[in-house]
Symmetry: C2
Subunit: 128 residues, 2 copies
DNA sequence: AGAATACCTACTAAAATAGTAGGATTAATA
DNA sequence: TATTAATCCTACTATTTTAGTAGGTATTCT
């Protein structure tokens, strides 16, 4: 059981931005500070932007800012965006194609609730 | 974020055995009932046996039984055995090789605790 | 002796992951 | 206007993980 490193990097980058909020910051800086490849960061931020977590500015003094105050961004949002929906098992995602009433699906459904509760219970502002 | 299907199958197989406890049951029956390949089940049970969750008997009337009463087997045990240790991110497993004090690791460490708590809070006997 | 069972090793096809590469676009500044 | 520094975009690729399959051996009851 693992979350992708993409989710890890995404979260770290967002925390980094949050520390700087509400000033703009460019990816080269983040890249240096966090020790991640610039090219890879660009990809990650495309995703973050597409999902309205950050706002960008192009050109010479370009860069990124958080789209909202870090008080209103939850760790869960970031992680689900980077990693896909939280669903520890197929059946927990909604439908279980078993004919039998599969007793073990209880485990996955309960677990999913707990993970979401935990992850959406953490604000970005708490991580600064 | 997903657990492997191996963990899912393992759990289902264990629930199946638990329903039968303390009688012995062979893999062909389980295979039919749960709709999983016999050959694959054999592999899974090798792992379960190696980790002392089940006890086997060879030969004509062979089969498997739970090694303990289902009251004393936790969903978490089975899942960690089939899927590897619960560690949603590298850094949550113990060591984080970041020089900086990585603020986001808090998330993974807290999450790990919650997942373990949830999964070890469920007894096999509750799933029958 | 035969049949049914667990046990073991090795292989493989497909999917997901974690990036890299090379360029196009935009906007401030010299 | 030319340069430069930033975001933006598409495509590719090597590696790893996953989810099984295949074929055979060992054991034990009848």
């Amino acid at each position: 059981m693992k979350f992708s490193t993409r989710a890890g990097y995404g979260l770290r980058a967002m925390v980094n931005l949050a520390k700087n909020h509400p000033r703009r910051k460019n990816l080269q800086e983040i890249s240096k500070e966090e020790g991640m490849s610039l090219k890879y960061l660009e990809q990650l931020f495309r995703i973050l932007k597409k999902n309205n977590l950050v706002v960008s500015r192009k050109g010479r003094v370009g860069g990124y800012v958080l789209a909202k105050n870090p008080k209103f961004i939850r760790a869960g949002e970031i992680i689900e965006i980077m990693d896909g929906p939280i669903a520890p098992m197929e059946c927990a995602g909604g439908r279980c194609d078993m004919k039998c009433s599969c007793a073990s699906s209880v485990v996955w459904i309960k677990l999913r609730q707990q993970i979401k509760k935990t992850l959406y219970g953490i604000k970005l502002s708490e991580l600064i």
